[in-house]
Subunit: 363 residues, 2 copies
């Protein structure tokens, strides 16, 4: 077995999911994630956990959904009870064809998802972790050779997470104590209020309320925003390429926008609902293993020397007890580079300059 796969499995089981003897684990295995599943099963065996393997095949799903009349039974008990009685769900992503569901009508997929709301909630109620096994299909989507992509994924994933968690803790403390964030960069001059908000140290472990491996970001929920921001990292949203999105924000609301491409899609996003014109998340990427954009939000938003803002829904973890944050049907991340002519400041103090944090260089 590739030593990297073995190491990936160990990090997933021990650091991310914190699995112990007797835990009941559902392994949800994508078509292309077999090799990682074998490695994870080995680690689960060593830890004395119990294991059920679920096969999450896009081809099976496609065949089933296309044939079905669309009147789905709500939350079948046999499936729901599996998740309700599980301690952890490990989602091993690894597509063999990212277009495998291309000819399944959206409404059919949505009807199926709606009928399974209770099952999804039962799954999310466990300490679930999602991770990604590199496949040729994913390499192709990233525009990379297979081995090149494997190196990319493992550089992002096989980190010293404990030490990164400690470092990210510094930024969390600064954000938790601060009231206002200011982002200054080419095309960007934006102030965000973070008064009374709590930052999440997203260290790829359920111990940090972080459910993705890799992770490597600190994020919070801005309460207010004013100014302008340019997102210079291209993103594919709803199949459309968004480039150089530029937003003007007043009293927290986007009042003007433009984009070098994808402007119509952007307009549609902003028109989704009231919350879609407000920011639900401010995130700071701190994963130094991610050295390029692959148009996969799981990696892109974690890249070191970037900042991202999400239009739409805020995460509860960032809000004071009982307070509800920005609400919306969407949560779309947009990313800007901070590596040149850029500063991130909190309450007037520069925290990061040109991608380097204060504690790294001591400026």
């Amino acid at each position: 077995m590739d030593e990297r796969i073995r190491r990936h499995a160990e990090i997933l089981v021990d650091w991310s999911a914190q699995i112990e003897s007797g835990d009941d684990i559902v392994l949800s295995i994508d078509e292309g994630a077999h090799d990682l599943a074998v490695a994870v099963a080995e680690v689960l065996g060593y830890r004395g956990a119990n294991l059920v393997s679920v096969y999450r095949s896009d081809e099976i799903q496609r065949a089933y959904l296309r044939a079905h009349d669309g009147e789905f039974d709500a939350d079948p008990t046999f499936e729901k009870s599996l998740y309700e009685n599980a301690d952890r769900v490990l989602l091993l992503k690894g597509s063999r064809n990212t277009a495998a569901m291309a000819d399944v009508p959206d409404e059919r997929q949505q009807a199926h998802a709606r009928a399974r709301q209770g099952i999804r909630e039962a799954r999310l109620a466990t300490d679930w972790v999602s991770t990604l096994h590199p496949t040729r299909a994913l390499a192709q989507q990233a525009g990379m050779a297979f081995e090149e992509y494997r190196e990319f994924v493992y550089d992002a994933t096989l980190r010293d997470w404990e030490s990164l968690a400690e470092e990210m803790g510094r930024l969390k403390t600064i954000l938790d104590d601060g009231s206002e964030v200011h982002i200054d960069a080419p095309g960007t001059d934006l102030s965000l209020s973070i008064e009374n908000r709590t930052a999440v140290n997203s260290a790829a472990s359920v111990a940090y309320d972080s459910h993705n491996l890799p992770s490597g970001e600190v994020f919070t929920a801005p309460a207010d925003a004013d100014g302008e921001i340019t997102f210079d990292v291209p993103m594919t949203v709803r199949g459309e390429r968004l480039r150089d999105v530029r937003l003007t924000v007043e009293n927290g609301e986007v009042v003007d926008f433009e984009a070098a491409s994808g402007e119509e899609t952007l307009a549609a996003l902003l028109d989704t609902d009231d919350g879609a014109r407000r920011f639900g998340e401010l995130g700071v990427g701190m994963n130094w293993g991610i050295d390029r954009f692959t148009d996969n939000i799981l990696f892109d938003e974690k890249m070191a020397e970037t900042v991202h803002l999400a239009l739409g829904r805020a995460y509860d973890a960032c809000l004071p007890e009982g307070e509800s944050g920005n609400d919306s049907a969407i949560h779309v991340d947009l990313i800007t580079e901070m590596s040149e002519d850029a500063t991130l400041s909190v309450d007037g103090e520069v925290i990061q300059r040109d991608g380097v944090f204060r504690w790294e260089s001591g400026f």
Copy 2:
């Protein structure tokens, strides 16, 4: 999709498992059975059944069992509840390597199986059906080219089961009404009492209490036996090749035995317990799609123009209400050809001569 795979899926769902709208189905998918699973999912979609896909991977199982210390938790609830709440379990066999578990100690496998007794019972309490998707590994085990093996499997599986069930029903009636079966063939002169026993019309459908696709045999549980029988079809039992097994039976018990090869294994089998020296099953193969032996009991014992007897455990379905039949830890089928110089008689009347039934030729 290969039309044969589609047809296989339809027979499995409609004839074998009799699945209807709203049924909760667990699909248990071997590593090599993906293509059949896709076809089955499509048919389940058309029928409006609910579907959970479980991945039954030997490689995952091997990794898990080898790493585990062997102290397995008994019947974990999350897995048991999946089967307890299911209506049907469809087992899609399709190994990618029939030796995949070769380096897992037997005792580890047995300890795991013992700890999961309740889960197995919950699965068997559903109307389960087991079938086989042809793989290269299975072709290799059968000593056949892949496409040759695929043709073999589909010839055996894609039958007109309704018409075969009707034909097998004739033999069932004769056996149910009869008191004594006599088998006469080269090296064989054996009488079996079947008084008060009920034959099973194993027509590959839960409607006939038949859980394997393909099937195609009529079987009962002999109450007594006397005479001699030679099993001229070679079989691999516990990794040993048994050839030309010859048994002498008095008052239902094997009193003498010999074999051209595998005699030690045969001796060990007979010594398992008291019931291992008695016949638990008499079966008559009636699947005319099976034209050769592949050393896989799922197919071999169903081959037309053969008869098999099992040493050991009898099936309850063949016994009068409340009566317990032959009991043993083993159930080992041994097969003899009936195509030449052979007759099968019931109460003195010849039912089958040289492989041809009375109703076929009218003798």
